[in-house]
Amino acid sequence: MKEVIVSPSPHLHSSLSTRSIMRDVLIALAPSIIVSVLIYEWHALGLLAVCVLTCVLVEWLITKFLFKRPSTIGDLSAVVTGVLLALNLPPSAPWWIAVVGSIVAIGIAKMTFGGLGQNIFNPALVGRVFLLVSFPVIMTDWTVPDSWKIFDSAVDAYSGATPLGIAKEGLLNGMTLPEIFAQNDFSWKQMFYIQVGGSAGEISALALILGFVYLLCRRVIKPTIPLTIVATVAIVSGIFSAVNPDVYTGPVFNIFAGGLLLGSIFMATDYVTSPMTTKGQIIFAVGIGLITMMVRYFGSYPEGVSFAILIMNCTVPLLNKYCKPARFGKEVKNG
């Protein structure tokens, strides 16, 4: 008889792998990708292709020529980063912006730390924020070229700016929120299905929520982080808008406008850059919600989700160290 394998227990392994998890994340992103391609057509597709290809290529080059180790692109994490970055770009962004963002995301935010699992910050967000502060004009240009429109009548109503941008702009110009809202359709229905004006991934809350449900069903993520962020945003904006509805936008608007859902579902839940225990995750998510609302209300940028997540990413090692899971047979009352 040929040789037998002798190794310690357990002798079975679940079918789970990093690759299968990343594949699930991509499947969960599919509705948002489809919506972005439907709305922004070939430009969204082009940005996706450029981001994904650059991310994968950069990771491959670094593992091959700098690390001199077997390639890790098979785990699909670079593809996820590429897709997330593309979904965070304005539809009119030129292709080279996508290349620069991808190089920063993978080359600086991920591989410098040693690759997947070692990075402190979410790579796609680092890419996006790098572009936002380096090329503010391009990154906040939400105009939608005519040729890309498919819903002519609907899109005509918008200047192309995001709802958050419109609100901030109006407030800076001395308008009150009721006046701004009177000129624009910011009803939750409008923003829930398709909000035109915004990055590709922000368009449809419905598509993002479909992805969220898929991730929950596949047990890829737990609902703790997204729900806590949304709840924090709802509470903070609820209190502020109740105090002064002329200046502070309300909960529905803050939840559905901008990148809050995209950020809380797909970026704040990134395993590597979020805490591992429920206790830590709640602190992390409350922090994201608070910082987001601070930037939105008092900052110079209309949107603050990216900053909020990156800032809270810094706290993760500390949260992991001090938030321990409940031990069996400890801190439990018998009876």
């Binding site: 037998v4 357990p10 002798h11 299968s20 690759g115």
Partner: protein, 446 residues
């Protein structure tokens, strides 16, 4: 109604109970049998027979050598061929009594009639004495001498008995079979142990995936108000002592404590059956029900196997060694041990021979930890396996490992099973745990 289960961690591997419908068959006697002297947790037994001695089935061939130890009885009649060291299934050299099997002659005091005796006449002391003399050990896996577990220390009180019929390990079906085939005997065994412990209450925990066993045990227990069959949600490692107590009576064994600290004593269904046979029928523990299984095995079976039969003989009886067999496991796939030597023989607590193909068992290549926390979610003891493994690999971090309670690890393997990056978590935690426990034991007592 929501089914009970333990409240922390756990995983749901495919249960693969492919041998569940195979009724127990008696395995033919071997020509030569090898009886190990290390059949239980604790000191190995001391052989009292010599080469050339004639032995009968049920005769004592080795005596306990210490408090935590148990006698060994001959499962065969015949002539002692040798008393010599032989490799056990893991390759460790252990003293064996080798017997040339001749016929099947039993000691006359053993009651071999099919009559089921449900009336308990033995006193508490007689029961404990009989269990001790019958060499009964826990058949759930650890093989801890049963009489010790049934005599709690003076300062602790037993409140209830928990019979473990969960059989949460995938593939295994021997407990399922005996619960279907000998439920009255098991219930009687449970009643005997209740009497020994002086407890009024007994719970029999069975997982939901064994409906026939649940029904037969409920029927057998119906006449006894103190005995309750508790149907449990399927989840591994429900059969872990600490997990089972938590699932059934919602109490948690304190860290570094013993099950008796919760007032519960846990015994396996196989042990209950052995107790019945010892006390009611004078039969020592010389055989057990044994599952031969694996998807590649030609015929998955449940055998009544006498102690000292070789694994090779058992697999031959199940249709031979499969062509694509790559790993042989003594026990279940989660906590069983890989067999080095198929010519080694079974011991009292041997429960199964699982044959796996290379495809089923090969460890995949390790990649970076993605900090998903799935190992911590799966850990039934609330530990953080990713952290423990990192500390263990770093070396010299015993102090931190102790702070992180590595000693609480029950080695169930949930972490390794679930890790998407294929990090051999338990493989590196296990030796670190042993080392930390050694350090803790070497400290002067306060």
């Amino acid at each position: 109604m929501r089914l009970k289960t333990f409240r922390m961690g756990g995983i749901h591997p495919d249960d693969n109970k492919i041998s569940a419908s195979a009724a127990v068959e008696v395995l033919p006697l071997p020509a030569v049998a090898y009886i190990s002297m290390a059949q239980h947790l604790g000191a190995p037994a001391t052989p009292i027979v010599q080469k050339g001695d004639k032995v009968l089935v049920g005769q004592v061939i080795a005596e306990p050598s210490g408090f935590v130890s148990a006698p060994v009885h001959s499962p065969y009649s015949g002539t002692v061929k040798a008393v010599e060291p032989r490799a056990d299934f893991a390759g460790n050299m252990v003293t064996h009594v080798v017997i040339d099997v001749e016929g099947d002659e039993w000691l006359p005091q053993i009651d071999r009639t099919p009559e089921i005796k449900t009336e308990i006449t033995a006193s508490r002391e007689e029961i404990l004495e009989k269990i001790k003399n019958a060499g009964i050990v826990g058949l759930g896996g650890a093989a801890f001498p049963t009489h010790i577990k049934l005599s709690p220390p003076k300062d602790k009180t037993a409140e209830c008995l928990i019979i473990n019929g969960t059989e949460c390990e995938p593939y295994l079906t021997s407990d399922d079979r005996i619960m279907q085939e000998e439920p009255v005997q098991i219930v009687t065994g449970a009643r005997i142990m209740m009497k020994a412990l002086g407890v009024p209450k007994c719970y029999i925990g069975i997982e939901e995936n064994k409906p026939a066993a649940i029904e037969s045990m409920k029927k057998a227990a119906a006449d006894y108000s103190g005995i309750e069959v508790v149907v449990l949600k399927k989840k591994y490692p429900q059969g872990g002592e600490k997990q089972l107590i938590d699932a059934i009576i919602h109490r948690r064994v304190p860290s570094m404590g013993l099950p008796i600290d919760t007032g519960a004593v846990v015994q396996n269904v196989g042990t209950a059956l052995a107790v019945y046979e010892a006390v009611q029928k004078n039969k020592p523990l010389i055989d057990n029900i044994f599952t031969v299984t694996g998807k590649c095995v030609p015929q998955q079976k449940n055998f009544d196997v006498r102690v000292g039969t070789t694994f090779r003989q058992i697999i031959e009886a199940a249709g031979g060694i499969p062509e694509n067999a790559a790993k042989f496991v003594s026990g279940g796939p989660m906590m069983g041990k890989a067999i080095v030597n198929l010519d080694a023989s079974t011991v009292k607590a041997s429960a199964a021979l699982l044959v796996l193909t290379e495809e089923e068992t090969l460890r995949k290549k390790e990649s970076n930890c993605i900090r998903c926390g799935k190992c911590a979610d799966a850990c039934p003891m609330g530990l953080q396996p990713f952290l423990l493994s990192r500390l263990a690999r770093a070396g010299g971090r015993q102090e931190e490992l102790e702070q992180e309670k590595v000693f609480d690890c029950i080695e169930c393997g949930c972490c390794l099973y679930t890790c998407p990056a294929n990090i051999p978590l338990l493989d590196v935690i296990r030796p670190a745990k042993a080392e930390v426990i050694k350090i803790m034991r070497s400290r002067p007592k306060k």
